[in-house]
């Protein structure tokens, strides 16, 4: 099967500092890929190359078989959900208008008046929120609620790919556990391909159907969580999963 996302020998540097070095990766459709590594290892850069917010210096990034560099960035981004740590909800719009943003700018049919209300309500329920929140402004929501609205907004246009950049980094432990479970459920129910950047190895192993470990702009290992823990490919991966391993076998 053709991979839905493909990195081919991608190089990228910012101001002389190499961020991605000969980075190659294939992601199959329906994968929940968690990406883990230290700050500055290139994980966010790789993520932003999928929706064209960052361009490769050399090499190619293919999304659904098409080179991102040749695609219309606006059309591409509307087909890809995007969630960031700070959420980035529009403060002057209600929850409903935030959720309906992509369908609205893309001029999608069936997103006016009553239809929009119903679709927003369904999306809010999907991310575990009360549809009664639709008329509220983001400033009146809690951090966890905002992040849920952010996820609903990213899902609104029915994307096949969802990019999430440390989405749960700024919420408390309990809320994070709930959000993680919601994401697993959403992935299970929709079959959407998810790229999920995190710096928490526990989160990466818990959520990912595959886990990508990155260091210094290169792939250290990309495997199922079980394989990663059982057979770490490099010393870096071993050091990373060691605490998890102890927890599993001796804990």
């Amino acid at each position: 099967m053709e991979p839905i996302i493909c990195f081919e020998h991608v190089f990228k540097s910012f101001g002389g500092q190499a961020v991605l070095q000969d980075f190659s990766l294939e992601i199959q459709s329906g994968t929940f890929l968690t990406v883990i590594g230290r700050s500055g290892c290139g994980k966010t850069t790789a993520l932003k190359m999928v929706n064209g917010l960052t361009r490769a210096d050399s090499g190619r990034v293919l999304v659904q078989g098409k080179d991102v560099a040749q695609a219309d960035p606006v059309a591409l981004r509307r087909r890809i959900g995007y969630v960031i740590q700070s959420v980035g909800l529009f403060p002057h719009m209600t929850v409903e208008k935030n959720v309906a943003y992509v369908p609205s700018i893309a001029g999608m049919d069936g997103w006016k008046g009553q239809a929009r209300r119903e679709k927003t309500a369904a999306l809010l329920r999907q991310v575990g929120l009360d549809p009664a929140l639709a008329g509220r402004f983001p400033s009146t929501l809690s951090g966890g609620q905002r992040q849920r609205v952010g996820i609903a907004r990213a899902l609104a246009a029915g994307p096949e790919i969802l990019l999430m950049d440390e989405p749960f980094g700024a919420v408390d432990e309990i809320t994070r556990a709930q959000l993680q479970e919601e994401m697993q459920r959403i992935h299970r129910e929709s079959g959407i391909t998810i790229l999920f950047v995190t710096h928490d190895i526990g989160e990466a192993l818990k959520l990912g159907t595959r886990v990508l470990v990155m260091d210094q702009g290169q792939v250290q290992q990309c495997d199922t969580p079980e394989e990663l823990v059982r057979h770490p490919a490099t010393a870096f991966v071993e050091a990373l999963v060691e605490p998890q391993r102890r927890l599993k076998y001796y804990g």
């Binding site: 932003k48 929706n51 981004r77 980035g88 529009f90 002057h92 400033s139």
Partner: protein, 213 residues
């Protein structure tokens, strides 16, 4: 106390004249406010979208703003003669600066994460501007409008020195015929007009700030 009484008598006796001057003053100020508002907003948006041209444009606006009002009127007379036209041009030049500055600052100090979210979700440049940036900057831009409106209303008072109409006519005539009451009567109306506009725009600004951030 005598002065107050004189002013009051003047308002009663020459109500028609003052009403005429007030209307002319508002006409003059509104024209300049409209022109400065539109031009300043467009220039501000332009330099926010193309930040490389921002420093020279802001520099020119700043220089124009520092020219004393009365000498700006004097400078303009050889080009546009005496009358309302010159006054409107001078007032517009003055009003542009606060509009440009506030529009530029409002649009360039927005939360970069929100702008990245807008871009990452597939907004075109125009959609980002109209749906996200301008509404979020509305509070700051409106503060510039408020500043500009109050200033234009008061500076319009000296427009009579170049033969334009408005309440400045009462002030100027009061000075030339040595009638302090007439000068004060004109000034008070200008001040009241400015205060009323300031209050109204202040309420609008609070509404946007509350919604915006």
């Amino acid at each position: 106390m005598e002065l107050l009484q004189d002013i009051f008598t003047l308002y009663v006796e020459r109500a028609d004249w003052f009403a005429e001057l007030l209307a002319a003053h508002m006409g003059l100020a509104l024209t300049a406010i409209g022109l400065a508002g539109v031009l300043g907003l467009l220039i501000g948006i332009g330099i926010a979208q193309y930040p490389r041209i921002a420093p020279p444009v802001m520099g020119v606006c700043n220089v124009l703003y520092t020219i004393p009002a009365i000498s700006l009127l004097g400078i303009l007379i050889p080009f546009s003669g005496v009358g309302n036209e010159t006054a409107v041009i001078a007032l517009t030049i003055y009003g542009i600066m606060p509009m440009v500055r506030n529009t530029y600052v409002g649009l360039t100090t927005l939360d970069p994460d929100i702008l990245e979210a807008a871009e990452g979700m597939g907004s075109t440049r125009l959609q980002s501007l109209l749906r996200v940036k301008l509404p979020m900057a509305a509070g700051v831009i409106l503060a510039g409008v408020r500043n500009m409106v109050v200033m234009t209303i008061s500076v319009a008072g000296i427009a009579s020195f170049v033969g334009a109409g408005g309440l400045g006519v009462a002030i100027y005539r009061g000075i030339t015929i040595y009638n302090p009451a007439m000068t004060a009567a004109g000034s008070i109306l200008i001040a009241l007009l400015a205060i009323l506009c300031d209050l109204a725009l202040g309420a609008l600004e609070r509404y946007f700030k509350q919604k915006g951030t």
